[in-house]
Symmetry: C6
Amino acid sequence: MANTDVWLESLITKTPQEGRALAILMSRKTIAAIQTDPEKRKQMRPDYAEDTVQLIQSAQVVAIEFQTVAQANNYWRDAK
Amino acid sequence: MANTDVWLESLITKTPQEGRALAILMSRKTIAAIQTDPEKRKQMRPDYAEDTVQLIQSAQVVAIEFQTVAQANNYWRDAK
Amino acid sequence: MANTDVWLESLITKTPQEGRALAILMSRKTIAAIQTDPEKRKQMRPDYAEDTVQLIQSAQVVAIEFQTVAQANNYWRDAK
Amino acid sequence: MANTDVWLESLITKTPQEGRALAILMSRKTIAAIQTDPEKRKQMRPDYAEDTVQLIQSAQVVAIEFQTVAQANNYWRDAK
Amino acid sequence: MANTDVWLESLITKTPQEGRALAILMSRKTIAAIQTDPEKRKQMRPDYAEDTVQLIQSAQVVAIEFQTVAQANNYWRDAK
Amino acid sequence: MANTDVWLESLITKTPQEGRALAILMSRKTIAAIQTDPEKRKQMRPDYAEDTVQLIQSAQVVAIEFQTVAQANNYWRDAK
C-alpha cells in the first residue's frame, strides 16, 4: 500500500450497506498492504474463495471491521 | 455482491431473535461477496455444515455480527 | 432453525450465571441454524467435545456472546 | 455444568488480578459445560497445556472474558 | 522490542488512513516483540505473505488494533 | 500462577507504549497460568517464535488485551 494512495478519507457512510462495502474494502486493503504484489494477490484468489475455512475467516475480519464502521456511524440510527 | 442488491437497509430489528437472523444474514452476505458464484457456494455447503470446526468458526462470526446488531438496538432493553 | 421457534425473547437475565447459560444457548442455536439436521448434530458431538482445539474455540464463541449479554444487563452491577 | 452449581455470583472483583482469575475460571467453566465428564477433561489437559497453538488460543479466550470483567469493574480505576 | 525504542507515543492520528497505518505498525511491533531476531523475521516473511490463511489472520489482527485506534480518535468524526 | 504472585496491580499505565508492554505481559501470564511449568514454557518458545501462524495468533491476543488496557486508560488522550 503506497502511502500516497488515500483510500480511507472517512469512516462515515450514508447507509449500513455502504458501511458493509467499506468493511470489505478495509479487509482487502490490509491484505494488499502485506502482500504488495497485485499479481500474486490475483493468483491467490482461488485459494480462499473456494475454501470454506478461509471464507469463514474472511467473514470474521469483515465482521470486526464493520463493528468499527457501524460505531463510527452511530449505527445509522437516524438514517431510518 | 452486486451493489444494486440492497439487503441491509437498517440494523434495527423488532426483537432480539430477529437480530440473530440479521447477524446470520450478514455473515452469509459477506461470504457471497467474496465467493460470488452461487453454484459454488451451494456445492461448498456440506464442507462447513458437516465439519464441527467450521460450524464453530461460523458461530463466531455470527456472534461478532450480533454484537453490532445488539448494540445498534440498545439490546432491545425497552422491548420487554 | 425454524423462524417459528422463538427462543430469544430477551437478552436480560436475572443473574450473571443465567447470562452464561444464555451465551451458551446462543452459540448452540447458531450451529443449529447452519446444520439444521438434529441427528447430524448429535453425531458430531464427540467431534468437538473430545477435541481440545474445538473446545477452546467453542469457549471463544461463548465468551463473545457473553460480552453482549453482560453489556445488555449492565453487568448485573445492581444485582449484588 | 449442573445448573445447581452457582459459580458466578457477580462479575465484580476487588482487584484486576482477581479479575484475571475470574476470566480464567469463566473460560474453564465453558469447557466444563461442553465436556461434562471431569475424567475426560483431566485426560485432555496435556493436549493443550503442551501445545503452544492451543495455549495461545486459550489465552485469547481469557483475553475476551477479561474484557467483560474489566468493563464490569470500570477497569478498577478507583481501586488505585 | 527494546524498551528504549519508543514507537508508540500516542494513539491519535490525523486521518483514518493514518490510523490504519498505525494499526498495521502495532501488529508488526507485537510480532517483533516476540520474535526479536530481525533476520529471522525477514526470512519468515514469504511464509505469511504468500499464504492466504495467514494473510487473512493478519488482517484480523489489524482489524482489532484498528478498533482501538479508531475509538481513541473518536472515529475522526470531526475530521470531515 | 500462584495466587501469591501479584503481577497486575492496575491497568493504568503512563504511556501507550507501557500499555503495549502490559498487554504482552497479560498474554504471557495467562499462558503461564495454564502451563505452570517454567521449564516446559522455555522449551516451547521456539515452537511459536519461529512459526508465523503462531506469531500472528499471539499478536491477536495482545491486540485484544490492549483494547482493554487502552480503554482503561481512556486511550491516554490527555497524555499528549
